[in-house]
């Protein structure tokens, strides 16, 4: 007999560790998917398509779910976005397709993200090959980095008949989808299945191969007809406060929950996270689900300035994460064994001036206080791969504020053979999986147009 669903979100201690790290949203059943798909109006010139950075023909893929042509539905999605399964899970749909859905003003938006996941999961679980690559054109392209930008570029180029080799510094391909998205948003298997699909198109992936260590840029330029850099960003910066060596890098903290045995992870009882972006939220909710009784986010500004998506903030609140706004850590106190015992913080006040639309904050004099804490995690942005950037700069590629400068219509750098995409070019706008996928597509089309006569059918790309 069907049990009427009860929220267990606030009783995670009743779940096993494995269950706590299952996807937050269960997959839609066939009935749910069909019922929801039939609610879609199948708008013409639909605003959801315009809101999708990769131009997925959303009404068409939803109609195909409604007619039980789920295979065709997945093809419609993957035609525009080879990483549709990842994007279905991590896209901020409220801000993109679902935010634009015309049903939002009439009733409530269609669950586009979850329908996309339904179709892509069907395709992945049936191991369907939707695309037959064009005949080999003899041209070779190297891709550095196998995050969403690199994989998307690699897959689109393989479809167009190129010989594509990807170099990945980590043990597993997939970039942040594999290492950086919390398990209960995207299980690592989803990312690795997408990697397999890209490989099935003929793409070669060499893992444990780092640029600058195992090979050089010049070697790539010599050996390949084009190079795409999807190198992303680096580790989380230091806090630059006393004893900050004991601080844990937020990205490494997340990565551990993706690839290691959850039972082997050691966590504290009073965990503080510095920063209020989406990564900070991920660290906090992971810490809660690993069983930490007290998890607090420290943020030097107020709720209104938080860079994370609002729905992520709400999710963290519902998970029982505490927030201390207008609070800045200024020192770390260690016990005799060198373990963190507490942190010194200072109260902050918001000023009238802002940077990038966010008000700046300044310490309140004589407001220091001590906060008990046995584990401190930082998620305050990411460093740049400075050595690679220096190298690029030497061969004439413009670098601005640590980002690679590219032509926005082609993602080509000043060096004619080198293209780039993903977080490493995202000087403006929000870094996201879906934007990285589009970057890869744009570069793939430009490489194709520049190297092959424009006679063959083009990859659909938003200009």
């Amino acid at each position: 007999m069907v049990e009427h669903v009860k929220s267990n979100r606030n009783k995670i201690w009743e779940l096993s560790l494995e269950d706590r790290f299952k996807e937050v949203y269960p997959p839609l059943s066939d009935k749910e998917a069909q019922t929801e798909a039939m609610r879609c109006l199948y708008c013409y010139d639909a605003p959801c398509i315009k809101a999708c950075p990769t131009d997925i023909d959303i009404p068409t893929f939803i109609r195909k779910i409604a007619t039980a042509n789920v295979k065709g539905s997945a093809k419609t999605i993957l035609q525009s976005n080879l990483l549709g399964g990842s994007c279905a899970r991590v896209c901020p749909t409220q801000e993109l397709c679902e935010g634009a859905c015309v049903m939002g003003s009439e009733h409530k938006p269609i669950m586009i993200g979850r329908l996309q996941r339904y179709a892509c999961d069907y395709s992945a679980s049936h191991n369907i090959q939707h695309f037959k690559p064009l005949p080999n054109n003899g041209l070779k392209v190297a891709i550095v980095g196998t995050g969403p930008a690199g994989l998307s570029c690699a897959g689109e180029l393989a479809k167009l008949g190129f010989n594509v080799t990807c170099f990945e510094k980590n043990n597993l391909a997939g970039g942040l989808s594999t290492y950086g998205i919390v398990v209960f948003r995207e299980p690592v298997e989803v990312s690795l299945a997408e990697v397999k699909q890209i490989e099935a198109l003929g793409v070669k992936i060499e893992t444990n191969k780092a640029l600058g260590k195992d090979f050089t840029l010049n070697q790539l330029i010599e050996k390949y007809d084009a190079v795409f850099l999807g190198i992303g960003l680096a580790n989380v910066p230091q806090l630059n406060i006393p004893n900050d060596k004991v601080v844990i890098d937020g990205l490494e903290f997340i990565a551990a929950t993706k690839i290691k045995d959850l039972n082997s992870l050691k966590i504290g009882k009073r965990i503080c996270i510095v920063g209020a972006g989406n990564t900070a939220i991920d660290c906090a909710t992971i810490a809660k689900r690993l069983g930490a009784p007290r998890v607090t986010i420290l943020y030097r500004r107020s709720e209104a300035e938080m860079p994370c998506y609002y729905f992520e903030y709400e999710f963290a609140l519902s998970e029982g994460v505490g927030f201390m706004f207008l609070t800045q850590p200024i020192g770390i106190n260690l016990d005799n064994n060198g373990h963190i015992e507490s942190i010194n913080c200072v109260r902050m006040d918001l000023q009238n001036e802002s940077i990038n639309g966010r008000r700046i904050s300044k310490p309140v004099p004589d407001s220091e206080f001590n906060l008990p804490c046995d584990m401190l995690i930082t998620a305050i942005g990411q460093n740049k791969h400075q050595d690679i950037l220096d190298n690029l700069n030497q061969i004439g590629i413009d670098i601005e504020s640590g980002y690679i400068m590219v032509d926005k219509h082609t993602n080509q750098t000043k060096h004619p053979k080198i293209y780039a995409g993903g977080d490493c070019i995202r000087i403006k706008g929000e870094a996201s999986t879906v934007a990285a996928v589009q970057d890869g597509k744009i570069a793939a089309q430009a490489i194709y147009e520049n190297l092959v006569s424009a006679k063959v059918k083009k990859v659909e790309v938003k200009k």
Binding site: M1, V2, S29, D30, K31, M38, Y42, Y44, T60, R63, K64, T67, A68, N69, K71, G72, K75
Partner: protein, 444 residues
């Protein structure tokens, strides 16, 4: 890749998806746009006698949030000048030589008029003709459309007139507003037609406005019967299609049939083709969503064909026709009973009330103590009493919750026709009772 192309009595089409003779096939602009989006053919909106149209022309039925499950119209045949239509038809055929362009025609019941329009239209280089013997409103009152299709003599006579002069294939389009559609179908075959298409629209009044007491559609305070179409008519169309396709005289003529009536998705298309249609024609769904729906029709049908290992549409056209039987030939010993999957049951208990009030009272409600301290009633089938009517499975809102499962009936496997041949005495009630007792048939 599967092959969707068809040869419809000599009319070649890259796929079986045609626009029906209706507003979406009214002009070169529309038909060419449709071809560009994937439609394999179009039956041009009927040309012929001069007409004047009215407004409003359409009335629709919505059901529980779904828009347009049925649509009726009082629009007439093309009101554009005949020369404009003919010019555009030849233009479309010139631009799309590999697509099927069929012209629907209808004129008054005069031999010269029919033969003249056929000859004039042939000059457009079109691929064939469809004779509109089905339009149920406006034209029928003038002795055309369904007035011809409802009288088999007329159907045969006009078909013969056309066949005398036509050098291209001719399709006769039948009206459903008749007791037995096989009769005019045979008449068209007797007249020499190359193919049939059905169904045209059904006589209907869509509704009454409860505030103004006007009809829908409302033409200046008045209304009248119009032609009903859309997904609501599909079962009627499937029945008429299959009864024509299964008729021995029609089968001897070896002519293809174009299926029409409520087709919206690739699944509908597959059903029409399984019941004998070689091509299908679509109107209402295009009026709702535009030509773009054909993409999923092509994609979905191709994927389904691949999954069934069909290489061409000819591998399955008519495949379900041998299953069409009649009541007298059904197995009286076959029994199915309702099985409720309690893991899926949500306790809406619609199956209980349907069975209890409207069927055979063979579902009981049993109470179950819940952990939370309240009781829930859930439905349980008494299988021995279940007659296998399938009403409960039909009302159940949960997929695969109630299934009708074949069970051993311990009854003789005999048909009604066989029974009354071997035991004609059962036509008397007392003998029937005896037979039932002997055959383990218990009526509750």
């Amino acid at each position: 890749m599967v092959d969707l192309s068809i040869d419809f009595c000599g009319i070649k089409s890259p796929n079986p998806f045609w626009l029906a003779s209706a507003p979406p096939a009214n002009s070169a602009y529309q038909v060419q746009k449709a071809f560009e989006q994937g439609w394999g053919g179009a039956v041009w909106k009927t040309i012929g006698a001069p007409v004047l149209n009215v407004s409003n022309r359409y009335g629709t039925i919505d059901y529980k949030g779904a828009k347009i499950i049925g649509l009726n119209n009082v629009e007439l045949i093309s009101d554009r000048p005949i020369n404009t239509n003919l010019k555009e038809i030849s233009e479309v055929k010139r631009n799309f030589p590999n697509h099927a362009v069929i012209v629907s025609v209808m004129v008054e019941s005069k031999k010269e008029a029919w033969q003249e329009i056929i000859k004039r239209t042939e000059e457009t280089n079109c691929d064939g003709f469809e004779l509109n013997f089905g339009c149920p409103h406006g034209m029928s009152e003038r002795g055309m459309g369904s007035a011809m299709g409802q009288d088999p003599h007329y159907t045969q006579m006009v078909t013969q007139w056309v066949m005398e002069v036509a050098t291209k294939p001719v399709i006769v389009k039948l009206t459903p507003n008749i007791t037995d559609v096989v009769v005019p179908a045979r008449a068209a075959v007797a007249g020499g037609t190359n193919a049939l298409s059905l169904i045209n629209t059904i006589n209907s009044i869509m509704g009454v406005d409860l505030n103004t007491f006007e009809l829908r559609p409302n033409v200046g305070g008045k209304g009248g019967h119009g032609g009903y179409a859309g997904m609501a008519v599909k079962p009627i169309a499937l029945h008429m299609l299959s009864s024509v396709a299964n008729d021995s005289i029609i089968q001897q003529a070896k002519i293809p049939i174009s299926g029409i009536g409520g087709i919206e998705t690739w699944q509908d298309v597959a059903e029409f083709m399984l019941l004998g249609a070689t091509s299908v024609q679509v109107c209402t769904a295009v009026m709702h969503w535009g030509f773009r729906i054909v993409e999923d029709m092509i994609d979905g049908l191709s994927n389904w064909m691949e999954s069934k290992n069909f290489n061409t549409v000819y591998d399955f056209i008519g495949k379900s026709l041998p299953r069409i039987s009649s009541f007298g030939d059904f197995d009286l010993g076959f029994k199915s009973a309702a099985k409720i999957n309690q893991d899926k049951c949500i306790q809406c208990n619609l199956c209980f009330i349907a069975c209890n009030d409207a069927a055979h009272q063979c579902i009981d409600l049993q109470s179950m103590q819940m952990d939370e301290g309240f009781q829930k009633m859930f439905p349980v089938v008494r299988e021995n009493d279940c007659v296998g009517c399938a009403l409960c499975a039909s009302v159940c809102p949960v997929n695969d919750c109630i299934s009708m499962v074949e069970v051993e009936s311990h009854r003789p496997h005999i048909t009604w026709n066989e029974l009354i041949k071997t035991k004609p005495e059962v036509l008397e009630w007392d003998k029937m009772e005896e037979y039932r007792q002997k055959s383990n048939i218990h009526i509750h």
